[in-house]
Amino acid sequence: MLDIKIYGTSTPSYQLAKLKLIDALEGADIRYHLEEVTSVTDIMRDQVESVPAVRVNDRYLFQMRPNGHYNQSLREAIQKVLRLGNYGSMSKIIVPTDFSEASFGAYSFANLLAKQIHGVLWLTHVYHPVSTDINQLVMVNVEAENAHQQRLQSFVDSLNQDWIGNFITEPIVEGVFKVGFPRVELEEMSKTQNTVMVMGTTGAGDAFKKIFGSLSLDMAGSVSCPLFLIPPGASFPSMKRIMYLSEDLNFDSTHLMYVAGIASNLGLPLSLVHFRSDRKDDYNVQDSIDLFEAFYPELEFTIDITDTSDLFASIHYLVGDRNDCLVVLSTRHRNVFEQIFHRSVTDYAAVHTHCPLLILSDKVKERIYSGRKVYS
């Protein structure tokens, strides 16, 4: 529970600050108690130098500045208040960045996703320390570490802005700087409640050999949250439908609900494609239809069953030349043999498609089953 005092006389800038603050707190489901302090005597007694201003828990004071700085200072104040409330129920969208083109593409995608799902962006840079061996002593290059941290901060500052005259219409961006192994740190971050991750891939060709590309593919099987992989050229506005490719829709029913939730949230039609590679496949279409009609009656969806003996060829046929859909894959493994095979299917799709991919691992399912809210 945040105890908030808002200071100011009833000017439009005060009223706007109050409305924006309430909107932000309620949008994030953060519990709060708001007290309005409008008497000049009380404002002076509390040592507030300029109004509007916000004080949280009788401790943190955030003051808004006039003359062209109002917008930015209001944004900063609201960001700090939300941070104190740990962003409540807002989706935390982790965007790993190495400042490459691929990560900028992922950021653009994440920015629009954040607007749609009311999320906060965690722009994350994991710095892997470079050590130098001097006179048998291992020296860590602190200057390089600081330079990376400053670069991230200035990038975050440049993103935490609104178009002139707009008031907090752009998603809030938090900079997260970590030192360590990218994969380990990102895996750990993905365990945070209510997160999704958006990563860029370097695309076709020798992507496996490129560090960032291989990292993004490694992450596909190990993250504990939904993972969006964004190849070069894929964009959020070009997505016209969501295509969920699955080999075992019975098993993936939890994922299915999650994907239906996304489709419903983004207002996109959902195409389910069930790959039937097993003669004993007992997938029942009616089960999925019943599920959607019960939980998402407004959802526009189609279900296709494709008999295939070659998943690579089938995926390529469906999405190889397309760039207008979000392709959803799960890292479902039936047995040890298929574990190897399935991993390569996910990797293949990540490298050979122009569409954004959403990878749902079994860990995501465990978290959904355990009743934690991953996506809202």
């Binding site: 439009p12 800038s13 009223q15 706007l16 409305l19 006039p66 003359n67 062209g68 700085h69 109002y70 917008n71 002139i164 005259g165 008031f167």
Partner: protein, 147 residues
């Protein structure tokens, strides 16, 4: 109209201007009260930019229905200055430039007003309306019926 005459013949002399640090609430008042579409922006007496009515209306984001939008509009107009939305890279004319030079500039660009300056000080403004107005008054312009 002789297009080889200087622009000073047809420009609007001593146009209404706004200070670079004046709020946009002042710009709003000037646009409404004077029924003009362009405001040259001055800093220390020198021309530093221009605010067109279309720039201004774009900045205002259209209509305000709710209290929320009215507060936003009020804060917008009182917290931003002409400097924030002005166009600073301007085409300029000198009073002695010929009208055909102005015609070429208008033909090649999307804007509708060119400030006329002398030693960095604004002495007038020439708009497409000035030219149309002059053509309409031109005794030489005739309607010729054919066929």
């Amino acid at each position: 109209m002789n297009i080889l005459h200087p622009v000073s013949n047809i420009m609007t002399a001593n146009p209404i201007c706004i200070g670079a640090n004046e709020t946009l609430a002042v710009a709003d008042k000037l646009f409404r009260e004077n029924r003009i579409h362009h405001l040259p922006v001055l800093a220390e007496g020198k021309l530093v930019g221009m605010v067109s009515k279309s720039d201004f209306l774009f900045f205002r984001r259209g209509f305000t229905d709710t209290d929320y939008e009215k507060f936003e509009e009020d804060v917008r107009l009182n917290n931003y200055t002409a400097r924030h939305i002005m166009t600073s890279k301007l085409a300029k004319l000198s009073p002695d430039d010929k009208i055909n030079v102005a015609l070429e500039v208008f033909k090649e660009n999307l804007f509708h007003a060119i400030p006329v300056v002398e030693n960095d000080r604004i002495v007038g403004i020439l708009t497409t309306f000035d030219i149309i107005n002059r053509l309409a008054l031109d005794a030489e312009a005739k309607a010729v019926y054919e066929g």
